[in-house]
């Protein structure tokens, strides 16, 4: 699956929320979508996907419903709930702030100190 970056701790939940926010997805679909939207850069360990999905569902951030997959198989589809949307927004902001801060910090040169 090409060169992939290590997943930072705590980012898996955020990525799942983002993935299901675009369109209802089944578990495997979440995996593919994250791979796709990260430009094939992020590869998540498959085994940790399902515990994360169940945890998010227990927290009420996503909801699930059984439906039909693209190839007419029974599959469980996840959607983002209202609290999930709120959480996604908050975490996205946090992440952007952190990323900007990190970038600024790493750009610093000796003159600026």
């Amino acid at each position: 699956m090409g060169k992939s970056a290590e997943l930072l701790p705590g980012t898996l939940d955020l990525l799942i929320l983002k993935a299901v926010s675009l369109k209802p997805l089944h578990g495997y679909g979440v995996l593919l979508r994250i791979h796709q939207i990260s430009g094939q850069a992020l590869d998540i360990p498959q085994g940790s996907l399902y515990p994360a999905l169940y945890r998010l569902e227990t927290q009420g951030l996503i909801a699930s419903e059984w439906g039909e997959s693209e190839n007419n198989r029974r599959a469980k589809f996840y959607t983002l709930t209202a609290p999930g949307k709120k959480r996604l927004r908050e975490e996205t902001d946090d992440w952007n702030r952190l990323a900007a801060a990190m970038a600024a910090a790493l750009r610093a040169t000796a003159d600026e100190v």
Binding site: G27, Y50, Y54, K76
Partner: protein, 892 residues
């Protein structure tokens, strides 16, 4: 949070569907990935293999997902519970003892708590009940602690005291209700117009009384209207509409129902169904009637934000203003007069509060003994499992795991015990009812309800946690001591555990001792009260109450005629030795006091006036009641003539007013300030004093027996002494009364001996309960003693075997163990002695002629506890003395 719980609950309840869904999801994932890999050019076998490798261990993923759903905790709990239940089932003797202990102690606590809660804690069912107060006049130095409030008080205070937003007066009475021939005496309450407004209870139907309803008209009959409770409407008026405007026949008159109270309405402990306007004339509203003590009571609502003390100050200030013009002011002040403002509930329950609190303390002591006992049993068991725990910890078991296991076991046990306790408590409440608990004030609604059940469950949980602490500590200690050998007396953990067990046993012995002594004091006090001479001979004396309705017996002559004919008819009955009537009988529950003026008696300065118990008698009252003559002569049937001013006084009266004797021939007048022309009564005899207010009442206020012919009260007791069957006489009394007047029922029919018995109820029932508690406590302590000693013996089998091998005699071994038990008993007894001393002093107010420290009781308690506990340790000691020397060689 809620949605989270719902998700977890959903998964738990649909566990199978959850598991299947999880498996299917994982399967779908693997298949899709495999297909994608095949599409990307892998061979089917290779694709399937790679998919499984990249996915990781399927079982782990499923396990982690399950845990992510929060289900693992439940799985573990279920496992633990199953394990704990198995362990408990494997030790039936231990489990049964512990469960029985818990069931009995929790049940006893539940039952007592239900009463205490109903009487002392549950808010009164009125709007903002904390703002409701009773205001009553007290004349402590005249021997009248509570004289209610007068009609004058009401009209003077009604709008005059800023701190009271609403003031009302009520007076309990009786009326004869129903159609001719089917009349019943019905208890009624007369109230002022704003009564229900003061309580904050809106009428369900109709409207309240008006001021016009409380005005005596020319005919002396007030507005003929009534407000009834929903229960009365349902039970006596058919329950159907229309209720407003319906007539109730009362004392021969038509009374119109103008209002209905909401369902469930009850004024404190009263079960009265009919409320009438409290009417009065201008004479009873004026200053002269201010201290008339008209057996009415005042309730009021305090302005919100004010304290009782502030309102009390306002009432005091108001009193001092109105008293300024009172000609009797000095005398009233000498009597210690004040109008007390007291929270309504406190007034209602004041008499029973100390007893209830004492019982609650006793039953909590019992709970403590039960808890300590179960803890000790647990400790013994934990010690015998200390090897297992030590081994498991050595093999890497988590401390948390050990604690969780101990906690699961103790909680499972205490919760089960608590549930059994619920059943025991329900039975206990029935027992308490049989002992007369529902006659306590505010206990009418005493029931086994959710509040009590919740209290029991919470108590069981707390108990479970409390028990777990020392056991977990011991179980963990056994590891830190590093012993994998059996607990022996030489290891520190063993010694610590033993010290703890022994300390608990000492506590248990001490508590049992205190309970024994406390119940002994109550029993002795009851015994002393029953030994009190009531002043009359209660056996074979029947008494019943008749109220002559005002409407048909307006003048004295008509009442006298009725009384004469009734007494004539009664004396003609076979077996009747003597009969008479009196306005009050001893122990009737009514202890009216009244002022009296004794000619020639001048109180020393500062000595307050003294009230007496007034009676008006007719016929052979003294002979019927069995009240002995001391001096002079009795009033008898020969004195039944209009205007006869002869009176008889009792010894207490004679002793107070005529300390040098010679009361006969002196004159007395009713009231503290007789008017000119009031009858002057001559004392013709002195009789023995009776206990009017209660057997244990040592007030000795004195009594004056007027002739009925000068008082004509319309509410009297008929009393008859018989040599025959009292039940038959009761029926005859009712029949004879109906023959004379078909409207008149006889109420409150009771043998005087039953009245004596009933007056002891408030002493007997607590004493019986305390005895039951103490017996259980002693039994539990004996069980505890047996357990601890038995365990000690088991622990020291090798050592004992060795000593036997070295030549010790069985008797020596036995006495060593009995000696250990005796030492524990003595330590517990000494601690208990201190507790008993404190308890005795704390309950002194409840005791009658019993000192707080009673040596015979202490001795008896010591003997009972000592004998029972030593008996309990005989079996284990005996077993110890029979251990064969070969035990010395046995493997530990």
């Amino acid at each position: 949070m809620l949605s989270r719980l719902r998700t977890i609950a959903h998964s738990l309840f649909h566990r199978r569907r959850f598991e299947e869904g999880l498996a299917e999801e994982v399967r779908f994932h693997l298949e899709q990935y495999t297909q994608d890999l095949i599409a990307a050019g892998h061979s089917p076998e290779d694709a399937a293999r790679r998919a499984r490798i990249e996915f990781g261990n399927v079982d782990n993923v499923i396990l982690d997902s399950r845990e992510a759903r929060g289900l693992r905790a439940f799985d573990t709990l279920q496992q633990r519970l199953r394990y704990a239940a198995r362990i408990l089932r494997k030790q039936p003797a231990f489990t049964a003892t512990a469960l029985a202990t818990l069931a009995i102690t929790v049940g006893a606590n539940l039952a007592i708590f239900a009463i205490v809660d109903a009487v002392l804690f549950r808010p009164l069912p009125f709007r903002e009940p904390d703002r409701l107060v009773a205001i009553y006049n007290t004349y402590p130095r005249a021997g009248v602690p509570d004289d209610g409030a007068s009609v004058t008080n009401y009209y003077e205070r009604r709008h005059a005291i800023d701190g009271l937003t609403s003031v009302s007066l009520y007076r309990d009475g009786a009326a004869i209700v129903g159609d001719v021939g089917a009349t019943e005496r019905e208890y009624v309450t007369r109230v002022t117009p704003e009564f229900f407004e003061t309580l904050g209870v809106p009428l369900a139907l109709g409207h309240g009384f008006t001021d016009a309803d409380t005005e005596y008209g020319a005919t002396y009959t007030a507005g003929r209207v009534a407000i009834v409770t929903t229960a009365y409407w349902r039970d006596h008026l058919g329950g159907g509409p229309p209720v407003l405007g319906r007539a109730i026949r009362m004392d021969g008159e038509r009374i119109e129902v103008i209002g209905v109270l909401p369902p469930g309405f009850q004024f404190l402990s009263s079960t009265r169904g009919i409320y009438l306007p409290l009417a009065s004339g201008s004479d009873s509203r004026g200053p002269n009637a201010r201290h008339a003590g008209s057996s009415s009571h005042m309730i009021a609502r305090v302005r919100s934000g004010l304290t009782i003390a502030q309102v009390q100050a306002q009432v005091d200030a108001h009193n001092s203003v109105v008293e300024r013009t009172d000609p009797q002011a000095a005398m009233i002040a000498d009597a210690g007069f004040r109008s007390l403002v007291i929270p309504l509930r406190d007034v209602e329950v004041a008499a029973v509060r100390p007893t209830l609190l004492l019982l609650e303390a006793g039953v909590l002591g019992l709970l403590l003994i039960g808890g300590v006992n179960v803890t000790n049993l647990f400790l013994i068991r934990a010690s015998s499992r200390s090897r297992e725990f030590a081994l498991r910890q050595a093999l890497g078991a988590d401390r948390r795991h050990v604690i969780a296991e101990v906690l699961t076991e103790s909680l499972l046990l205490t919760l089960t015990g608590g549930l059994l306790g619920l059943a025991a408590g329900a039975a206990g409440i029935r027992l308490l009812r049989a002992l007369g608990a529902s006659k306590l004030p505010l206990a009418g609604s005493l029931a086994f309800d959710g509040r009590a059940a919740l209290a029991a469950i919470v108590a069981s949980l707390v108990l479970g946690l409390a028990i777990a602490v020392p056991i977990a500590w011991c179980s963990l200690r056994s590891h830190s001591a590093g012993t994998l050998g059996a607990e022996s007396r030489t290891t520190t953990a063993g010694r610590a555990a033993q010290r703890l067990r022994h300390a608990f046993l000492v506590v248990e012995v001490a508590l049992a001792f205190v309970l024994l002594v406390g119940s002994g004091l109550l029993a002795l006090s009851l015994q002393r009260v029953t030994e009190v001479d009531p002043g009359f001979r209660p056996a074979q004396v029947l008494s019943g109450q008749i109220a002559l309705p005002w409407t048909s017996y307006q003048d004295g002559a008509s009442r006298l005629t009725f009384m004469t004919r009734l007494l004539d008819a009664l004396s003609a009955q076979p077996g009747v030795v003597a009969s008479g009537i009196s306005t009050n009988v001893p122990l009737s529950g009514n202890a009216i006091r009244a002022a009296v003026t004794v000619e020639g008696y001048v109180a020393a300065p500062g000595v307050p006036v003294r009230a007496v118990f007034p009676y008006a008698v007719r016929g052979d009252y003294f002979r019927a009641m069995g009240i002995p003559l001391v001096e002079g002569r009795l009033l008898s049937r020969d004195d039944d003539r209009l205007g006869n001013t002869a009176v008889v006084v009792d010894e207490d009266f004679a002793r107070f007013y005529f300390p040098k004797g010679g009361a006969v021939g002196h004159h007395v007048q009713m009231g503290s300030r007789p008017a000119p022309g009031d009858p002057i009564h001559t004392i013709v005899g002195v009789v023995g004093a009776v206990k009017q207010a209660g057997l244990s009442s040592d007030e000795a206020l004195g009594a004056v027996y007027y002739t009925y012919d000068t008082r004509f009260d319309n509410n009297v007791f008929v009393v008859a002494r018989t040599t025959g069957d009292a039940d038959a006489l009761g029926t005859a009394m009712q029949r004879l009364t109906r023959q004379l007047d078909p409207e008149l029922p006889v109420n409150n029919l009771s043998m005087m001996s039953s009245r004596v018995d009933r007056s002891l109820l408030t002493r007997r029932s607590p004493a019986v309960l305390a005895m039951i508690f103490a017996s259980i406590a002693v039994l539990l302590t004996a069980v505890g003693m047996y357990g601890v000693l038995g365990y000690s013996v088991a622990l020291r089998r090798r050592e004992i075997g060795l000593r036997m091998a070295l030549g010790a005699r069985p008797g020596q071994i036995r006495s060593a163990f009995v000696g250990m038990a005796a030492r524990l008993l003595i330590s517990g007894g000494l601690v208990g002695l201190a507790g008993a001393w404190m308890t005795g002093h704390a309950m002194q107010a409840l005791l009658y002629r019993v000192a707080p420290v009673s040596w015979p009781i202490l001795a008896a308690a010591t003997v009972v506890l000592g004998v029972v506990c030593l008996a309990a340790c005989l079996l284990p000691s005996h077993r110890a003395s029979r251990i064969p020397p070969s035990e010395a060689l046995a493997e530990s």
